[in-house]
């Protein structure tokens, strides 16, 4: 290798090729760009004209320079240039490579391994023995000094641990190593207690050099959850300037596919080392979050696992029609709403809707009967893990639900009628609650003295009644019963949810009971406090790179230990299953901060940037390619061929390839906006594109002709006609659609039919033209007639009739008897009038209030209307003067049709004007 400054060349002799560049200069300079030859009759007029500027008969210098640079780049590329070629550095004696190997070194782990490999290579070359010591993985025999090649085989087994090294263990391990050694310490750059002691020990043994990467390290700090959302603290170490990172919230979408649910960009100000990221998400989304992650940080510290403490329970309250409006305090749901307020996300609605929303809890307050259509999905929902909470009440007591047999949606059988205690018409005092048994989920809750029950529904004595009771009254009658159903459960309060039957809803005990039933969310702190006496089973564990893996094989952890545990080898970060919830153990605790190391001045610290070797060949080859590409464009430009007919499409194609991906997404919106704007700023006649270019151009020309006639004769001044693609374009802006039927046009899509039906219902009109009136009469199966049937089948078309003589269409502008197009024959069909016999002898029809949504005929009107740019008819109609008369009638039909569409029944109302005036004058 030949080294020149910071660049070395692996094949330096290729550089001799640079000497050939001057020769190339002269050769290229002598060859001017070739002219184009054109045959042109006007050349006789050109003779004798001279050029103003006499350049370009030689290749311009800058083009030469471009080519020279391209060739020079090629020569340099093949000479194998390498930036920062590695220079060997000597040493002697045993070498200890100490790895911090914590999560903080995971983002640049490959770089560290590269440094280790390089150190091994150098040690191998110098015949030194090496020991690699991983501070997070200290075995009983901490260090064996082996040859470099032995260690090289073990390198792939090294991986960063998802926790911080224990410096006390490390100190102990170092104490067992005998003799002096040199140390290379690959630090993760985080300051931690005990690091100085380790450094003192190492320096006593021999020289210490430290390798640290200067790149910024990010970690996700503690999470706080409150009403506003989830607040994450993003910490960083390293850089002091401004920087911004994105925090992603991952979770499954409704179909169960893992996705990024939210993305939050946070910006560190200059000198700031912690910024909070607030995720304000709808509860459905927030409950699905499984982890937060800093984008493109491959480290366990950049991951924050979410557990149940993040979730807010979703509670569905089934509302019934409330006939007693205003009696809010008597409402069955009032106290439930008050108890759940702020602690859970409450949704209210009909039962069928609630099941669709799949909440965690559904509360039925005194609803006895469920229809079969409601009960089955509700049972499925409970089966799948839902909690159905029911309250008794007058309705339940009066009904015959669960009298004889157990109802699947009630925990126990009920006795008819219930009972009343201590009322005006009954014996005894209102009952109080008995303290909760140890097996009850309510165990430990204090029972206030003032909670009394004056009425309840009674449970039938059954063999398994005792197992289902979780709260009883003073006399031992069940007060709350529970039954597991599949993965879920059904709980019945034998009293009402309002204060009618008991004072329970008025007390704090009610809220606590709902809390214990996991109806409301609980703070993570409270859950951790409950852990004493439990064992906690690891579910998932993180590795140092932040990958989540299954941890079912791990040993369960003592609950008391777990409550105070930090991420360590015994309790790796991950998800842990307690008795009734899932807890997450994350790397950064509430009091952890990322602080950069401060090394003493005498310890040499190296970073990554000094030693990286980079081959420059690909960059130079790319540069040569770009220069040659620029040369092509410049040469074309010089010879005037750049904007020739053939080159432009190729250039556009080349440019559009990288653009197409972005344009494909936003194009339809802007396109349809522009289309709608063009169509709606003026009245525009529209035709349906059939895909047959000839028919489409004829339709366009026909509507252009009709537009011109309208412009000349009426106050309707249409803008140029527009072609409509049924699948993509909005239809609502057009008053009328001309739809020529061809035998082979494709049937529109289902979406297009939805649009068409909406168009017809909202006052649009379609003129179907089978263009075959010369051969077809009604009922004759012509190809276009059959096609029309196929096209119109999904359309919402009313009953039709042949156009009657007194139809409004015959007199909206011109008085017409027939409606010829290119074919004079044929009939026109319109919507049938409702009750023709009620015409009351009036000559004019006043029945069809609405414009007929379709006009069907075969006159080939567009052909009769069609004109070219100069206004000359395109298609011959009939013969001689009669033909021109027929064309005129076709135009009149068009004018009448447009008038009819635009004015609606106004013209048919006009017939009453004389009668009205007559009546006014009386």
């Amino acid at each position: 290798m030949w080294i020149l400054g910071p660049v070395g060349f692996t094949a330096p002799w290729v550089l001799l090729g640079l000497l050939a560049l001057p020769i190339l200069w002269f050769v290229l300079r002598a060859v001017p760009p070739a002219p184009i030859r054109r045959r042109f009759p006007g050349v006789a007029l050109l003779l004798g004209l001279t050029d103003d500027e006499t350049e370009a008969d030689r290749t311009p210098w800058w083009l030469l320079l471009l080519r020279m640079l391209a060739v020079a780049a090629l020569i340099l590329a093949f000479a194998g240039p390498v930036l920062n070629p590695r220079v060997d550095r000597g040493g002697s004696g045993p070498l200890v490579i100490l790895l911090d190997a914590s999560w903080a070194s995971a983002p640049d782990w490959a770089l560290r391994m590269g440094r280790v490999e390089q150190a091994l290579e150098e040690a191998g070359a110098d015949n030194r023995t090496v020991c690699i010591l991983s501070a997070t993985d200290i075995s009983a025999q901490p260090c064996d000094f082996l040859s470099a090649s032995d260690w090289r085989a073990r390198l792939p087994g090294l991986a960063p641990a998802p926790y911080a090294p224990d410096m006390a263990d490390l100190l102990a391990a170092l104490g067992t190593i005998q003799g002096g050694y040199e140390t290379l310490w690959l630090s993760d750059g985080l300051d931690r207690l005990g690091r100085d002691d380790v450094l003192d020990v190492l320096e006593a043994k021999g020289a210490v050099s430290v390798f640290e990467t200067p790149r910024a390290l990010y970690g996700l700090g503690p999470t706080t959850v409150d009403e506003t959302g989830v607040d994450l603290l993003v910490q960083r170490r390293g850089t002091v300037g401004e920087a911004s990172v994105a925090v992603l919230a991952h979770g499954p979408d409704p179909a169960g596919v893992p996705r990024v649910l939210a993305r939050q960009e946070v910006t560190f100000g200059s000198g700031e080392d912690a910024v909070s990221a607030l995720f304000d998400l709808p509860p459905e989304l927030r409950n699905r979050i499984t982890r937060f992650e800093i984008e493109s940080q491959r480290s366990a510290g950049a991951i924050r696992l979410a557990d149940d403490s993040l979730k807010r329970r979703e509670v569905g309250l089934v509302t019934v029609r409330d006939s007693r409006e205003g009696l809010q305090l008597l409402s069955q749901l009032h106290y439930l709403r008050a108890a759940l307020n702020g602690k859970a996300d409450v949704i209210e609605g009909a039962l069928a809707d609630l099941i669709q929303a799949n909440p965690d809890v559904i509360i039925l307050a005194d609803i006895a009967h469920l229809s079969g259509g409601e009960a089955a999905p509700l049972l499925d929902w409970v089966d799948a893990g839902g909690l159905l909470l029911r309250f008794a009440g007058p309705n339940l007591a009066a009904s015959d639900v669960a009298r004889d047999a157990e109802d699947p949606l009630l925990p126990v059988r009920l006795r008819a009628g219930g009972r009343t205690i201590g009322g005006a018409m009954s014996w005894g005092e209102p009952k109080t609650l008995r303290p909760f048994a140890e097996t009850s989920p309510f165990y430990g809750l204090p029972v206030p003295e003032d909670v009394t029950v004056s009425a309840q529904v009674m449970a039938q004595p059954d063999p398994d009644l005792a197992a289902r009771v979780i709260a009883t009254l003073g006399d031992g009658t069940p007060m709350v019963t529970r039954k597991p159903v599949g993965q879920g459960q059904v709980v019945l309060f034998h009293v009402t949810a309002n204060a009618e039957w008991s004072t329970l809803p008025l007390s704090g005990l009610f809220v606590s009971m709902l809390d214990r039933l996991a109806v409301t969310s609980r703070a993570a702190k409270a859950q951790v406090d409950d852990l004493a006496g439990q064992t906690v089973q690891p579910l998932k564990r993180l590795d140092g790179f932040g990958t989540l893996s299954d941890a079912a094989a791990m040993v369960p952890v003592e609950g008391a230990v777990f409550a105070t545990a930090k991420a360590s080898a015994a309790t790796p970060p991950g998800l842990y299953q307690t008795r009734d919830s899932v807890l997450a153990l994350n790397i950064l605790g509430p009091e952890d901060h990322l602080i950069a190391t401060q090394w003493p001045a005498d310890v040499p610290v190296t970073g990554s940037q000094t030693r990286s070797e980079r081959p420059l060949t690909p960059a130079l080859l790319l540069a040569a390619l770009l220069l040659l590409g620029a040369d092509v464009i410049a040469s074309l430009w010089l010879s005037g061929r750049l904007f020739g007919a053939r080159v432009v499409p190729i250039l556009l194609l080349a440019l559009s390839i990288p653009l197409s991906s972005t344009r494909a997404q936003d194009a339809p919106d802007t396109l349809s906006d522009a289309f709608a704007l063009a169509a709606s700023s003026e009245v525009a006649l529209a035709y349906v594109r059939t895909g047959d270019a000839r028919i489409d151009s004829l339709s366009e020309a026909g509507l252009a002709g009709l537009s011109a006639v309208l412009n000349a004769r009426t106050s309707v001044e249409p803008s140029p006609p527009m072609g409509v693609s049924l699948d993509t374009d909005p239809l609502g802006v057009f008053p009328i659609l001309y739809w020529p039927v061809t035998a082979d046009q494709p049937i529109p899509s289902a979406d297009a039919y939805i649009k068409l039906n909406a168009y017809l219902r909202t006052g649009g009109m379609i003129l179907f033209d089978t263009r075959d009136a010369d051969v077809a009469s009604f009922g004759a199966a012509t190809p276009t007639g059959l096609k029309l049937q196929a096209l119109a089948r999904p359309l919402d078309i009313p009953a039709l009739e042949q156009i009657p003589e007194d139809h409004v269409l015959t007199r909206t502008f011109y008085l017409l008897r027939e409606f010829p197009g290119r074919h004079a024959e044929g009939t026109v069909w319109v919507e049938a009038s409702a009750n023709a016999e009620q015409a009351e002898g009036m000559p004019f029809r006043n029945l069809n209030d609405n414009v007929t949504p379709v006009v069907i005929g075969g006159g080939d009107w567009a052909a009769a209307w069609a004109v070219d740019d100069t206004g000359v008819p395109l298609v011959p109609v009939g013969r001689g003067f009669n033909g021109e008369r027929q064309r005129e009638l076709a135009y009149r039909f068009g004018v009448n049709l447009v008038m009819y569409v635009l004015t609606g029944n106004y013209k048919s109302d006009q017939v009453h004007v004389p009668a009205l005036l007559d009546r006014l004058s009386q």
């Binding site: 042109f40 050349v43 004209l49 103003d52 500027e53």
Partner: protein, 300 residues
């Protein structure tokens, strides 16, 4: 030249006649768009059409008196017919190589347009009873289907034909020496070649009282000059050649020369009592035919 076998003669004859029916049909269709009427001389004379009644004068033959008209009044009236006479029209369509140019495959070549107009005009004129001749054939003006067919054959353009003189093949010029005196003439060409032969021809025609039309047919590219960059321009037959390093710089000066040429032609026509107009091949043929027909009508 050796004798060709009959089969090859037949094949060549068919190839020659191939384009005729379409041209004739196209021209018939174009001609049909103009409504025809008898064109009298606006004075009494021999003819079929009624012109006027005039009082009988001494010397009028007794059988020339219109008794039906005379019976309604006291005097005698003679029924006069309008004088109708046939005209001779010489048509010349440039068949040189430069007329074979078309800048766009959607446009016809100038020659196709000139041939179509010539043919349609010939049909129209014959319908009107005029006698028509194609100048390049050298035959005297005649009327009838045979003459029409002869004209169609004479208009056949062979782009591969080898001309003896390359310069002459590039640009054509009419020869008016064989024209009948007091007849009409129509010249259709791009008039981009040397103008002197045309001046001679018009001068010779004007000397013999021939009036007519100069109709310049140009391709849109010849009006726009949409060229750029280093270009070598050659004429259609290759006789002329001009090289430029930057064609776009020549545009303005070329357009100046073109408009100067048009002015020259208009001046020439004006001096000889002729009429001049320019037609572009990307515009419809019908207005052009109308202009030509009205031009002849007006001159009559």
């Amino acid at each position: 030249m050796s004798l060709s076998p009959p089969s090859s003669l037949r094949a060549r004859a068919e190839a020659l006649a191939g384009p005729l029916p379409p041209l004739q049909a196209q021209a018939e269709q174009l001609a049909r768009t103009l409504l025809l009427g008898g064109h009298g001389r606006r004075q009494a004379g021999m003819g079929d059409e009624f012109w006027q009644y005039r009082p009988a004068e001494p010397g009028d033959a007794g059988r020339s008196i219109d008794w039906r008209r005379s019976g309604r009044s006291d005097g005698h009236f003679v029924r006069e017919k309008e004088w109708q006479s046939a005209q001779s029209v010489h048509l010349w369509a440039d068949l040189s190589a430069s007329m074979g140019f078309s800048s766009d495959k959607n446009h016809p070549t100038k020659q196709e347009r000139a041939g179509l107009l010539t043919m349609a005009l010939a049909i129209l004129l014959m319908r009107g009873g005029e006698r028509v001749a194609l100048a390049s054939l050298g035959t005297p003006p005649r009327i009838g289907a045979l003459q029409l067919r002869r004209i169609a054959e004479g208009l056949r353009f062979d782009p591969n034909a080898e001309a003896a003189d390359v310069e002459a093949a590039d640009y054509g010029a009419p020869d008016a020496t064989s024209f009948l005196p007091k007849s009409r003439a129509v010249f259709l060409s791009d008039f981009l070649g040397p103008i002197e032969p045309l001046e001679h021809a018009i001068g010779a025609a004007a000397d013999r009282g021939i009036t007519g039309l100069l109709y310049q047919i140009l391709d849109p590219a010849e009006e726009a000059f949409p060229f750029q960059g280093r270009t070598v321009f050659t004429s259609m037959a290759g006789g002329l050649r001009h090289e430029t390093l930057r064609a776009s710089d020549l545009r303005d000066r070329y357009l100046d020369r073109l408009s100067e040429r048009k002015t020259q032609l208009a001046h020439l026509a004006h001096q000889a009592g002729w009429r001049f107009a320019t037609h572009h091949t990307n515009t419809p043929a019908q207005p052009a035919l109308l202009w030509l027909y009205e031009g002849l009508e007006g001159a009559r």
